[in-house]
Protein backbone atom coordinates (compact mmCIF):
# COMPACT_ATOMS: atom_id res chain seq x y z
CA UNK A 1 0.00 0.00 0.00
CA UNK A 2 2.66 2.44 1.10
CA UNK A 3 4.63 1.55 -1.98
CA UNK A 4 1.83 2.31 -4.42
CA UNK A 5 1.29 5.73 -2.81
CA UNK A 6 4.99 6.48 -3.27
CA UNK A 7 4.90 5.45 -6.91
CA UNK A 8 1.80 7.52 -7.55
CA UNK A 9 3.29 10.53 -5.87
CA UNK A 10 6.47 10.03 -7.84
CA UNK A 11 4.50 9.99 -11.09
CA UNK A 12 2.67 13.19 -10.16
CA UNK A 13 5.91 14.91 -9.20
CA UNK A 14 7.51 13.82 -12.43
CA UNK A 15 4.56 15.14 -14.39
CA UNK A 16 4.65 18.50 -12.60
CA UNK A 17 8.41 18.77 -13.11
CA UNK A 18 8.12 18.03 -16.82
CA UNK A 19 5.26 20.48 -17.24
CA UNK A 20 7.19 23.29 -15.57
CA UNK A 21 10.35 22.35 -17.45
CA UNK A 22 8.55 22.38 -20.80
CA UNK A 23 6.83 25.69 -19.97
CA UNK A 24 10.19 27.27 -19.26
CA UNK A 25 11.75 25.73 -22.34
CA UNK A 26 8.81 26.49 -24.63
CA UNK A 27 9.90 29.97 -25.84
CA UNK A 28 13.28 28.56 -26.84
CA UNK A 29 11.64 25.60 -28.52
CA UNK A 30 9.25 27.92 -30.36
CA UNK A 31 12.15 30.09 -31.52
CA UNK A 32 13.95 27.05 -32.86
CA UNK A 33 10.80 25.76 -34.60
CA UNK A 34 10.05 29.16 -36.10
CA UNK A 35 13.56 29.36 -37.51
CA UNK A 36 12.67 26.43 -39.78
CA UNK A 37 9.41 27.97 -41.10
CA UNK A 38 8.81 30.33 -43.96
CA UNK A 39 8.03 33.94 -43.02
CA UNK A 40 4.35 33.37 -43.88
CA UNK A 41 4.10 30.25 -41.71
CA UNK A 42 5.91 32.05 -38.90
CA UNK A 43 3.11 34.57 -38.53
CA UNK A 44 0.28 32.18 -39.46
CA UNK A 45 -2.79 32.28 -37.22
CA UNK A 46 -3.58 29.90 -35.66
CA UNK A 47 0.10 29.10 -35.21
CA UNK A 48 1.42 25.96 -36.81
CA UNK A 49 3.18 23.70 -34.36
CA UNK A 50 4.95 20.99 -36.36
CA UNK A 51 3.05 20.53 -39.59
CA UNK A 52 4.91 23.07 -41.73
CA UNK A 53 7.36 22.82 -44.59
CA UNK A 54 10.71 22.55 -42.85
CA UNK A 55 13.23 24.81 -44.52
CA UNK A 56 16.79 25.94 -43.95
CA UNK A 57 16.31 29.00 -46.07
CA UNK A 58 16.33 31.43 -43.12
CA UNK A 59 19.74 30.21 -42.04
CA UNK A 60 21.26 30.65 -45.45
CA UNK A 61 19.73 34.13 -45.78
CA UNK A 62 21.03 35.13 -42.37
CA UNK A 63 24.49 33.77 -43.17
CA UNK A 64 24.44 35.61 -46.51
CA UNK A 65 23.34 38.90 -45.05
CA UNK A 66 25.73 38.98 -42.12
CA UNK A 67 28.93 37.30 -41.12
CA UNK A 68 27.83 35.05 -38.25
CA UNK A 69 31.39 33.90 -37.47
CA UNK A 70 32.58 37.44 -36.83
CA UNK A 71 29.81 38.06 -34.28
CA UNK A 72 30.42 34.68 -32.71
CA UNK A 73 34.12 35.38 -32.40
CA UNK A 74 33.40 38.75 -30.76
CA UNK A 75 31.07 37.06 -28.28
CA UNK A 76 33.68 34.44 -27.46
CA UNK A 77 36.38 37.06 -26.94
CA UNK A 78 34.20 39.36 -24.86
CA UNK A 79 32.53 36.68 -22.72
CA UNK A 80 35.72 34.64 -22.29
CA UNK A 81 37.99 37.65 -21.80
CA UNK A 82 35.76 39.41 -19.27
CA UNK A 83 35.34 36.17 -17.32
CA UNK A 84 39.05 35.39 -17.28
CA UNK A 85 40.00 38.93 -16.29
CA UNK A 86 37.24 39.08 -13.67
CA UNK A 87 38.26 35.75 -12.14
CA UNK A 88 41.91 36.78 -11.91
CA UNK A 89 40.91 39.94 -10.06
CA UNK A 90 38.21 38.28 -7.95
CA UNK A 91 40.19 35.31 -6.56
CA UNK A 92 42.59 37.42 -4.47
CA UNK A 93 39.77 39.81 -3.54
CA UNK A 94 37.53 36.98 -2.35
CA UNK A 95 40.50 35.36 -0.59
CA UNK A 96 41.19 38.44 1.49
CA UNK A 97 37.52 38.97 2.29
CA UNK A 98 37.02 35.36 3.31
CA UNK A 99 40.22 34.77 5.26
CA UNK A 100 41.48 38.13 6.51
CA UNK A 101 38.27 40.10 6.87
CA UNK A 102 38.46 43.63 8.23
CA UNK A 103 35.73 45.42 10.11
CA UNK A 104 34.46 46.84 6.82
CA UNK A 105 34.43 43.64 4.76
CA UNK A 106 30.71 43.04 5.13
CA UNK A 107 29.96 46.66 4.18
CA UNK A 108 32.19 46.45 1.13
CA UNK A 109 30.49 43.23 0.01
CA UNK A 110 27.06 44.80 0.38
CA UNK A 111 28.16 47.95 -1.37
CA UNK A 112 29.47 45.89 -4.25
CA UNK A 113 26.19 44.07 -4.48
CA UNK A 114 24.26 47.34 -4.35
CA UNK A 115 25.93 48.46 -7.59
CA UNK A 116 24.10 45.56 -9.25
CA UNK A 117 20.78 47.07 -8.15
CA UNK A 118 21.53 50.32 -9.94
CA UNK A 119 19.74 50.58 -13.30
CA UNK A 120 22.51 50.29 -15.88
CA UNK A 121 21.07 53.12 -17.92
CA UNK A 122 21.89 55.44 -15.01
CA UNK A 123 25.57 55.22 -15.81
CA UNK A 124 25.24 54.89 -19.57
CA UNK A 125 26.05 58.53 -20.19
CA UNK A 126 29.25 58.75 -18.10
CA UNK A 127 30.50 55.44 -19.42
CA UNK A 128 29.74 56.39 -23.01
CA UNK A 129 31.63 59.65 -22.49
CA UNK A 130 34.57 57.79 -21.03
CA UNK A 131 34.52 55.42 -23.98
CA UNK A 132 34.54 58.33 -26.41
CA UNK A 133 37.38 60.04 -24.56
CA UNK A 134 39.45 56.91 -24.35
CA UNK A 135 38.69 55.78 -27.88
CA UNK A 136 37.13 52.57 -26.64
CA UNK A 137 33.82 52.78 -28.52
CA UNK A 138 33.20 49.70 -30.64
CA UNK A 139 36.34 47.94 -29.42
CA UNK A 140 36.41 44.41 -28.02
CA UNK A 141 38.82 45.57 -25.32
CA UNK A 142 36.47 48.28 -24.10
CA UNK A 143 33.48 45.99 -24.03
CA UNK A 144 35.42 43.21 -22.29
CA UNK A 145 36.44 45.72 -19.64
CA UNK A 146 32.94 47.06 -19.07
CA UNK A 147 31.29 43.65 -18.91
CA UNK A 148 33.99 42.39 -16.57
CA UNK A 149 33.33 45.33 -14.24
CA UNK A 150 29.56 44.85 -14.46
CA UNK A 151 29.85 41.21 -13.41
CA UNK A 152 32.77 41.54 -10.99
CA UNK A 153 30.56 41.94 -7.88
CA UNK A 154 28.82 38.64 -8.68
CA UNK A 155 32.12 36.84 -9.26
CA UNK A 156 33.56 38.14 -6.00
CA UNK A 157 30.41 37.26 -4.10
CA UNK A 158 30.22 33.75 -5.45
CA UNK A 159 33.90 33.05 -4.85
CA UNK A 160 33.67 34.58 -1.39
CA UNK A 161 30.84 32.18 -0.55
CA UNK A 162 32.83 29.18 -1.80
CA UNK A 163 36.03 30.24 -0.04
CA UNK A 164 34.15 30.65 3.23
CA UNK A 165 33.44 26.91 3.07
CA UNK A 166 37.14 26.03 3.05
CA UNK A 167 38.47 25.33 6.55
CA UNK A 168 41.00 27.99 7.48
CA UNK A 169 43.08 25.29 9.23
CA UNK A 170 44.11 23.92 5.87
CA UNK A 171 45.40 27.26 4.69
CA UNK A 172 47.22 27.73 7.99
CA UNK A 173 48.74 24.28 7.56
CA UNK A 174 50.04 25.39 4.17
CA UNK A 175 51.51 28.49 5.78
CA UNK A 176 53.21 26.35 8.43
CA UNK A 177 54.48 24.07 5.68
CA UNK A 178 56.40 26.98 4.22
CA UNK A 179 54.02 28.08 1.46
CA UNK A 180 54.11 31.74 0.48
CA UNK A 181 50.81 33.53 -0.05
CA UNK A 182 51.06 32.93 -3.80
CA UNK A 183 51.83 29.23 -3.31
CA UNK A 184 49.02 28.93 -0.79
CA UNK A 185 46.52 30.33 -3.30
CA UNK A 186 47.85 28.32 -6.26
CA UNK A 187 48.54 24.94 -4.64
CA UNK A 188 45.94 24.74 -1.88
CA UNK A 189 43.07 27.22 -2.14
CA UNK A 190 42.40 27.14 -5.87
CA UNK A 191 42.42 23.34 -6.33
CA UNK A 192 40.10 22.99 -3.35
CA UNK A 193 37.74 25.62 -4.70
CA UNK A 194 37.69 24.21 -8.25
CA UNK A 195 33.97 23.28 -8.25
CA UNK A 196 33.09 26.74 -7.01
CA UNK A 197 35.44 28.53 -9.36
CA UNK A 198 34.22 26.45 -12.30
CA UNK A 199 30.57 27.23 -11.68
CA UNK A 200 31.39 30.91 -11.15
CA UNK A 201 33.20 30.96 -14.48
CA UNK A 202 30.36 29.16 -16.25
CA UNK A 203 27.69 31.42 -14.84
CA UNK A 204 29.74 34.47 -15.69
CA UNK A 205 30.28 33.32 -19.27
CA UNK A 206 26.53 32.91 -19.60
CA UNK A 207 25.86 36.36 -18.12
CA UNK A 208 28.49 37.99 -20.33
CA UNK A 209 27.26 36.11 -23.41
CA UNK A 210 23.70 37.31 -22.85
CA UNK A 211 24.63 40.88 -21.96
CA UNK A 212 22.73 43.09 -24.36
CA UNK A 213 22.43 46.55 -22.86
CA UNK A 214 26.10 47.48 -22.98
CA UNK A 215 26.92 45.56 -26.12
CA UNK A 216 24.15 47.31 -28.05
CA UNK A 217 25.04 50.74 -26.73
CA UNK A 218 28.79 50.62 -26.99
CA UNK A 219 29.35 48.77 -30.25
CA UNK A 220 28.49 49.34 -33.88
CA UNK A 221 30.22 46.90 -36.19
CA UNK A 222 33.77 45.98 -35.22
CA UNK A 223 33.17 44.65 -31.74
CA UNK A 224 29.50 43.68 -32.09
CA UNK A 225 28.78 40.30 -30.50
CA UNK A 226 25.85 37.93 -31.07
CA UNK A 227 23.38 40.04 -29.09
CA UNK A 228 23.91 42.82 -31.65
CA UNK A 229 23.58 40.21 -34.36
CA UNK A 230 20.11 39.26 -33.13
CA UNK A 231 19.08 42.87 -32.70
CA UNK A 232 20.02 43.65 -36.27
CA UNK A 233 17.17 41.36 -37.39
CA UNK A 234 14.42 43.14 -35.56
CA UNK A 235 14.35 45.71 -38.31
CA UNK A 236 12.04 48.72 -38.44
CA UNK A 237 11.05 47.99 -42.05
CA UNK A 238 8.94 45.04 -40.96
CA UNK A 239 9.29 42.00 -38.82
CA UNK A 240 10.97 38.93 -40.18
CA UNK A 241 10.13 36.47 -37.47
CA UNK A 242 11.59 33.43 -39.13
CA UNK A 243 14.92 35.11 -39.85
CA UNK A 244 15.02 36.68 -36.40
CA UNK A 245 14.42 33.21 -34.97
CA UNK A 246 17.18 31.73 -37.09
CA UNK A 247 19.56 34.44 -35.91
CA UNK A 248 18.51 33.89 -32.29
CA UNK A 249 18.96 30.16 -32.57
CA UNK A 250 22.43 30.64 -33.95
CA UNK A 251 23.26 33.11 -31.18
CA UNK A 252 22.07 30.98 -28.30
CA UNK A 253 23.24 27.62 -29.63
CA UNK A 254 26.83 27.84 -28.39
CA UNK A 255 25.87 28.85 -24.86
CA UNK A 256 23.05 26.29 -24.80
CA UNK A 257 25.49 23.55 -25.72
CA UNK A 258 28.01 24.78 -23.13
CA UNK A 259 25.28 24.83 -20.51
CA UNK A 260 24.09 21.37 -21.46
CA UNK A 261 27.51 19.81 -21.10
CA UNK A 262 28.36 21.63 -17.89
CA UNK A 263 24.99 21.34 -16.15
CA UNK A 264 26.31 18.84 -13.62
CA UNK A 265 29.16 21.17 -12.72
CA UNK A 266 26.83 24.16 -12.59
CA UNK A 267 24.34 22.52 -10.26
CA UNK A 268 27.11 21.14 -8.08
CA UNK A 269 28.75 24.53 -7.89
CA UNK A 270 25.56 26.43 -7.17
CA UNK A 271 24.60 24.09 -4.34
CA UNK A 272 28.18 23.84 -3.06
CA UNK A 273 28.15 23.98 0.71
CA UNK A 274 24.38 23.99 0.85
CA UNK A 275 24.33 20.32 1.74
CA UNK A 276 26.92 19.01 4.13
Amino acid sequence: MARSVTTQRKAINTLIAWTIGLLIFFPILWTILTSFKTEAQAIASPPIFLAFDWTLENYSVVQERSDYMRFLWNSVIIAGGSTLLGTIIAIPAAWSMAFVPSRRTKDILLWMLSTKMLPAVGVLYPISLLFVQLNLLDTRFGLTLVIMLINLPIIVWMLYTYFKEIPVDILEAARMDGASLREEIIHVLTPMAVPGIASTILLNIILAWNEAFWTLNLTATDAAPLTAFIASYSSPEGLFFAKLSAASTMAIAPILILGWFSQKQLVRGLTFGAVK
Binding site: D169, I170, E172, A173, A174, R175, M176, D177, G178, M192
Partner: protein, 334 residues
Protein backbone atom coordinates in the same frame (compact mmCIF):
# COMPACT_ATOMS: atom_id res chain seq x y z
CA UNK B 1 67.85 22.73 18.12
CA UNK B 2 64.67 24.29 19.37
CA UNK B 3 64.80 26.47 22.43
CA UNK B 4 61.77 28.73 22.53
CA UNK B 5 61.66 31.78 24.76
CA UNK B 6 58.63 34.02 25.25
CA UNK B 7 59.28 37.39 26.87
CA UNK B 8 56.43 39.53 28.17
CA UNK B 9 54.22 38.25 25.37
CA UNK B 10 50.68 39.63 25.31
CA UNK B 11 47.75 39.14 22.98
CA UNK B 12 44.55 41.13 22.75
CA UNK B 13 41.64 40.72 20.39
CA UNK B 14 40.15 44.19 20.23
CA UNK B 15 39.67 45.27 23.83
CA UNK B 16 39.83 41.75 25.22
CA UNK B 17 43.20 40.76 26.60
CA UNK B 18 43.49 37.01 26.07
CA UNK B 19 47.11 36.67 27.16
CA UNK B 20 48.35 39.08 29.83
CA UNK B 21 52.15 39.57 29.94
CA UNK B 22 53.66 36.09 29.96
CA UNK B 23 57.19 34.76 30.22
CA UNK B 24 58.02 31.18 29.37
CA UNK B 25 61.04 29.18 28.30
CA UNK B 26 60.83 25.80 26.59
CA UNK B 27 64.18 24.07 26.52
CA UNK B 28 65.58 22.30 23.51
CA UNK B 29 64.30 18.75 23.20
CA UNK B 30 61.66 19.24 25.86
CA UNK B 31 58.09 17.87 25.62
CA UNK B 32 56.03 20.74 26.95
CA UNK B 33 52.28 20.49 27.38
CA UNK B 34 49.97 23.49 27.66
CA UNK B 35 46.93 22.41 29.60
CA UNK B 36 43.90 24.24 30.90
CA UNK B 37 40.15 24.45 30.58
CA UNK B 38 38.68 25.59 27.27
CA UNK B 39 39.07 29.30 26.67
CA UNK B 40 42.20 29.54 28.83
CA UNK B 41 44.31 30.80 25.93
CA UNK B 42 46.42 27.70 25.40
CA UNK B 43 45.67 27.42 21.69
CA UNK B 44 46.18 31.15 21.24
CA UNK B 45 49.56 30.83 22.91
CA UNK B 46 50.50 28.02 20.54
CA UNK B 47 49.35 30.06 17.55
CA UNK B 48 51.48 32.98 18.74
CA UNK B 49 54.50 30.69 18.81
CA UNK B 50 53.56 29.34 15.36
CA UNK B 51 53.19 32.85 14.00
CA UNK B 52 49.59 32.28 12.92
CA UNK B 53 48.65 35.13 15.26
CA UNK B 54 50.70 38.27 15.82
CA UNK B 55 51.68 39.16 19.37
CA UNK B 56 50.26 42.44 20.67
CA UNK B 57 53.52 43.11 22.51
CA UNK B 58 56.54 41.23 23.78
CA UNK B 59 59.08 39.06 22.00
CA UNK B 60 59.37 35.48 20.80
CA UNK B 61 62.78 33.94 20.36
CA UNK B 62 63.26 30.65 18.56
CA UNK B 63 66.66 28.95 18.49
CA UNK B 64 68.38 32.08 19.67
CA UNK B 65 66.93 34.16 16.85
CA UNK B 66 64.36 36.91 17.21
CA UNK B 67 61.20 35.54 15.59
CA UNK B 68 58.46 37.91 16.79
CA UNK B 69 57.73 39.25 13.32
CA UNK B 70 58.89 36.24 11.33
CA UNK B 71 56.12 34.74 9.17
CA UNK B 72 55.06 31.17 10.10
CA UNK B 73 56.72 29.70 7.02
CA UNK B 74 60.11 30.99 8.12
CA UNK B 75 60.04 29.94 11.77
CA UNK B 76 61.13 26.38 11.11
CA UNK B 77 58.26 24.95 13.14
CA UNK B 78 55.81 22.24 12.12
CA UNK B 79 52.25 22.07 13.36
CA UNK B 80 49.72 19.28 13.70
CA UNK B 81 46.15 20.53 13.82
CA UNK B 82 43.13 19.16 15.66
CA UNK B 83 41.26 18.84 12.37
CA UNK B 84 44.35 17.23 10.78
CA UNK B 85 44.13 19.95 8.09
CA UNK B 86 45.25 17.62 5.31
CA UNK B 87 45.03 18.81 1.72
CA UNK B 88 41.97 16.89 0.49
CA UNK B 89 42.90 17.15 -3.20
CA UNK B 90 46.34 15.60 -2.75
CA UNK B 91 47.35 11.98 -2.18
CA UNK B 92 48.98 11.02 1.10
CA UNK B 93 52.34 11.08 -0.68
CA UNK B 94 51.76 14.62 -1.93
CA UNK B 95 50.48 15.75 1.45
CA UNK B 96 53.65 14.58 3.17
CA UNK B 97 55.83 15.93 0.36
CA UNK B 98 54.18 19.36 0.36
CA UNK B 99 56.47 21.10 2.86
CA UNK B 100 59.50 19.64 1.06
CA UNK B 101 58.21 20.89 -2.28
CA UNK B 102 57.73 24.32 -0.73
CA UNK B 103 61.33 24.12 0.52
CA UNK B 104 62.38 23.41 -3.12
CA UNK B 105 64.15 20.16 -2.30
CA UNK B 106 65.09 17.94 -5.22
CA UNK B 107 62.75 15.10 -6.12
CA UNK B 108 65.12 12.30 -5.04
CA UNK B 109 65.48 13.78 -1.56
CA UNK B 110 61.72 14.35 -1.32
CA UNK B 111 61.02 10.73 -2.24
CA UNK B 112 63.57 9.48 0.26
CA UNK B 113 62.14 11.49 3.13
CA UNK B 114 58.51 10.69 2.28
CA UNK B 115 59.25 6.96 2.14
CA UNK B 116 61.15 7.26 5.41
CA UNK B 117 58.29 9.00 7.20
CA UNK B 118 55.75 6.61 5.73
CA UNK B 119 57.59 3.56 7.00
CA UNK B 120 58.01 5.06 10.49
CA UNK B 121 54.30 5.86 10.65
CA UNK B 122 53.03 2.68 8.97
CA UNK B 123 51.64 4.61 6.04
CA UNK B 124 53.58 2.89 3.26
CA UNK B 125 50.49 1.09 1.95
CA UNK B 126 48.38 4.23 1.84
CA UNK B 127 50.67 6.64 0.02
CA UNK B 128 48.52 6.83 -3.09
CA UNK B 129 45.22 7.27 -1.31
CA UNK B 130 43.45 10.54 -0.69
CA UNK B 131 42.85 11.73 2.90
CA UNK B 132 39.12 11.12 2.44
CA UNK B 133 39.80 7.39 2.09
CA UNK B 134 41.62 7.13 5.43
CA UNK B 135 40.42 6.57 9.00
CA UNK B 136 40.85 9.23 11.66
CA UNK B 137 43.97 7.63 13.09
CA UNK B 138 45.55 7.28 9.68
CA UNK B 139 44.78 10.90 8.88
CA UNK B 140 46.42 11.99 12.08
CA UNK B 141 49.49 9.93 11.14
CA UNK B 142 49.64 11.67 7.77
CA UNK B 143 49.49 15.02 9.55
CA UNK B 144 52.36 13.92 11.78
CA UNK B 145 54.24 12.61 8.74
CA UNK B 146 53.86 15.98 7.06
CA UNK B 147 55.35 17.57 10.17
CA UNK B 148 58.32 15.23 10.67
CA UNK B 149 59.66 15.25 7.08
CA UNK B 150 60.60 18.88 7.49
CA UNK B 151 62.91 18.10 10.39
CA UNK B 152 61.63 21.21 12.17
CA UNK B 153 63.15 23.01 15.16
CA UNK B 154 60.04 22.16 17.12
CA UNK B 155 56.67 20.44 16.69
CA UNK B 156 53.48 22.16 17.69
CA UNK B 157 50.46 19.98 18.41
CA UNK B 158 47.05 21.63 18.77
CA UNK B 159 44.79 19.10 20.52
CA UNK B 160 45.75 16.48 17.94
CA UNK B 161 43.92 13.57 19.52
CA UNK B 162 40.60 15.09 20.46
CA UNK B 163 38.87 13.90 17.28
CA UNK B 164 39.88 10.28 17.83
CA UNK B 165 38.00 7.63 19.76
CA UNK B 166 39.25 6.66 23.21
CA UNK B 167 41.16 3.51 22.26
CA UNK B 168 42.90 5.18 19.34
CA UNK B 169 43.75 8.13 21.52
CA UNK B 170 45.73 5.99 23.94
CA UNK B 171 47.58 4.37 21.05
CA UNK B 172 48.43 7.66 19.36
CA UNK B 173 49.52 9.12 22.70
CA UNK B 174 52.12 6.39 22.96
CA UNK B 175 53.19 6.84 19.36
CA UNK B 176 53.75 10.56 19.84
CA UNK B 177 55.72 9.91 23.03
CA UNK B 178 57.84 7.33 21.21
CA UNK B 179 58.37 9.75 18.36
CA UNK B 180 59.65 12.28 20.85
CA UNK B 181 62.01 9.75 22.38
CA UNK B 182 63.39 8.93 18.95
CA UNK B 183 63.64 12.42 17.46
CA UNK B 184 64.54 14.31 20.65
CA UNK B 185 63.00 17.39 19.04
CA UNK B 186 61.22 20.04 21.07
CA UNK B 187 57.48 19.42 21.15
CA UNK B 188 54.77 21.75 22.39
CA UNK B 189 51.46 20.05 22.87
CA UNK B 190 48.15 21.69 23.67
CA UNK B 191 45.39 19.72 25.34
CA UNK B 192 42.51 20.17 27.74
CA UNK B 193 42.93 16.57 28.88
CA UNK B 194 45.05 16.43 32.01
CA UNK B 195 45.64 12.70 31.53
CA UNK B 196 47.36 13.41 28.21
CA UNK B 197 49.36 16.13 29.90
CA UNK B 198 50.44 13.91 32.78
CA UNK B 199 51.37 10.93 30.63
CA UNK B 200 53.29 12.72 27.90
CA UNK B 201 54.91 15.84 29.30
CA UNK B 202 58.39 16.59 30.53
CA UNK B 203 57.01 19.95 31.53
CA UNK B 204 53.41 20.96 32.04
CA UNK B 205 52.27 24.56 31.75
CA UNK B 206 48.91 25.02 33.44
CA UNK B 207 47.00 27.99 32.06
CA UNK B 208 43.93 29.82 33.26
CA UNK B 209 42.55 32.93 31.56
CA UNK B 210 45.84 33.46 29.75
CA UNK B 211 47.85 33.35 32.96
CA UNK B 212 50.38 30.66 33.74
CA UNK B 213 49.23 29.12 37.01
CA UNK B 214 52.18 26.77 37.38
CA UNK B 215 55.00 25.24 35.36
CA UNK B 216 56.58 21.96 36.38
CA UNK B 217 57.03 18.27 35.78
CA UNK B 218 53.89 16.13 36.02
CA UNK B 219 54.87 14.83 39.45
CA UNK B 220 55.75 18.28 40.77
CA UNK B 221 52.32 19.47 39.80
CA UNK B 222 50.71 16.44 41.32
CA UNK B 223 52.67 16.57 44.55
CA UNK B 224 53.01 20.30 45.11
CA UNK B 225 50.29 22.21 43.28
CA UNK B 226 50.92 25.91 43.75
CA UNK B 227 47.28 26.84 44.21
CA UNK B 228 43.73 25.53 44.39
CA UNK B 229 43.23 25.74 40.62
CA UNK B 230 46.21 23.54 39.78
CA UNK B 231 45.36 21.19 42.66
CA UNK B 232 41.87 20.76 41.29
CA UNK B 233 42.89 20.51 37.65
CA UNK B 234 45.69 17.95 37.93
CA UNK B 235 44.72 14.49 39.10
CA UNK B 236 41.76 12.29 38.31
CA UNK B 237 39.34 12.03 39.97
CA UNK B 238 39.61 15.58 41.21
CA UNK B 239 41.11 16.45 44.58
CA UNK B 240 38.66 16.83 47.49
CA UNK B 241 38.63 20.32 48.98
CA UNK B 242 37.55 20.76 52.58
CA UNK B 243 36.94 24.08 54.34
CA UNK B 244 35.89 24.97 57.86
CA UNK B 245 37.00 23.57 61.18
CA UNK B 246 38.63 20.46 59.73
CA UNK B 247 40.82 22.76 57.58
CA UNK B 248 41.58 25.00 60.57
CA UNK B 249 42.83 21.94 62.43
CA UNK B 250 45.62 21.81 59.84
CA UNK B 251 46.21 25.55 60.03
CA UNK B 252 44.70 26.28 56.62
CA UNK B 253 41.68 27.95 55.00
CA UNK B 254 41.24 24.97 52.71
CA UNK B 255 42.78 21.55 52.72
CA UNK B 256 42.99 19.24 49.74
CA UNK B 257 43.04 15.46 49.85
CA UNK B 258 43.33 13.32 46.75
CA UNK B 259 40.81 10.47 46.43
CA UNK B 260 43.71 7.97 46.34
CA UNK B 261 44.96 9.27 49.70
CA UNK B 262 41.82 8.38 51.63
CA UNK B 263 41.23 4.95 53.13
CA UNK B 264 37.68 3.71 53.33
CA UNK B 265 36.47 1.21 55.94
CA UNK B 266 33.26 0.10 57.57
CA UNK B 267 34.35 0.65 61.18
CA UNK B 268 37.24 3.05 61.83
CA UNK B 269 38.28 6.49 60.68
CA UNK B 270 37.97 10.12 61.73
CA UNK B 271 35.49 11.05 59.00
CA UNK B 272 32.22 9.28 58.30
CA UNK B 273 29.44 9.42 55.73
CA UNK B 274 27.16 7.39 53.49
CA UNK B 275 28.03 5.93 50.12
CA UNK B 276 26.32 7.53 47.13
CA UNK B 277 27.31 6.55 43.61
CA UNK B 278 30.07 3.97 43.13
CA UNK B 279 32.03 3.87 39.88
CA UNK B 280 33.56 0.47 39.21
CA UNK B 281 36.53 0.48 36.88
CA UNK B 282 37.57 -3.07 37.68
CA UNK B 283 41.03 -2.25 38.99
CA UNK B 284 39.69 0.58 41.13
CA UNK B 285 36.39 1.73 42.49
CA UNK B 286 35.52 5.38 43.09
CA UNK B 287 33.08 5.97 45.91
CA UNK B 288 31.25 9.26 46.20
CA UNK B 289 30.59 9.66 49.91
CA UNK B 290 27.93 12.08 51.16
CA UNK B 291 26.84 13.48 54.53
CA UNK B 292 30.39 13.76 55.82
CA UNK B 293 29.85 17.29 57.10
CA UNK B 294 33.08 18.27 55.34
CA UNK B 295 32.12 18.86 51.75
CA UNK B 296 29.11 18.00 49.63
CA UNK B 297 30.83 14.92 48.30
CA UNK B 298 34.11 13.29 49.22
CA UNK B 299 35.50 11.10 46.47
CA UNK B 300 37.48 8.09 47.54
CA UNK B 301 39.54 5.79 45.41
CA UNK B 302 39.61 2.21 46.68
CA UNK B 303 40.77 -1.12 45.41
CA UNK B 304 38.49 -2.72 42.85
CA UNK B 305 37.68 -5.52 45.28
CA UNK B 306 36.25 -3.22 47.96
CA UNK B 307 32.50 -3.56 47.90
CA UNK B 308 30.24 -1.00 49.54
CA UNK B 309 26.70 -0.43 48.41
CA UNK B 310 24.61 2.66 47.98
CA UNK B 311 23.57 3.93 51.41
CA UNK B 312 26.21 2.03 53.39
CA UNK B 313 27.68 3.90 56.36
CA UNK B 314 31.46 4.20 55.96
CA UNK B 315 34.47 5.70 57.74
CA UNK B 316 37.26 7.58 56.00
CA UNK B 317 40.90 8.06 57.00
CA UNK B 318 42.95 10.68 55.09
CA UNK B 319 46.72 10.22 54.81
CA UNK B 320 47.82 13.24 56.81
CA UNK B 321 51.34 13.30 55.34
CA UNK B 322 50.01 14.15 51.89
CA UNK B 323 47.33 16.67 52.80
CA UNK B 324 47.65 19.90 50.78
CA UNK B 325 47.07 23.13 52.68
CA UNK B 326 45.93 26.39 51.08
CA UNK B 327 45.61 29.90 52.54
CA UNK B 328 42.89 32.53 52.18
CA UNK B 329 44.15 33.49 48.72
CA UNK B 330 44.06 29.87 47.61
CA UNK B 331 47.84 29.61 47.55
CA UNK B 332 49.75 26.62 48.83
CA UNK B 333 51.07 26.82 52.41
CA UNK B 334 54.51 25.25 52.55
Amino acid sequence: MGRIVLEKVTKSFGDVEVIPPLDLTIEDGEFAVFVGPSGCGKSTLLRLIAGLEDVSSGAINIDGAEATDTPPAKRGLAMVFQSYALYPHMSVRKNIAFPLRMAKLDQAEINKRVEGAASVLNLADYLDRRPGQLSGGQRQRVAIGRAIVREPAAFLFDEPLSNLDAALRVGMRLEISELHERLKTTMIYVTHDQVEAMTMADKIVVLRAGNIEQVGSPLELYKTPRNLFVAGFIGSPKMNFINGSEASRFGAKTIGVRPEHIMISSDTGPWSGTVGVSEHLGSDTFFHVHNTGLAETVTVRADGEVGFRHGDKVHLTPREDVIHRFDDAGLRIT
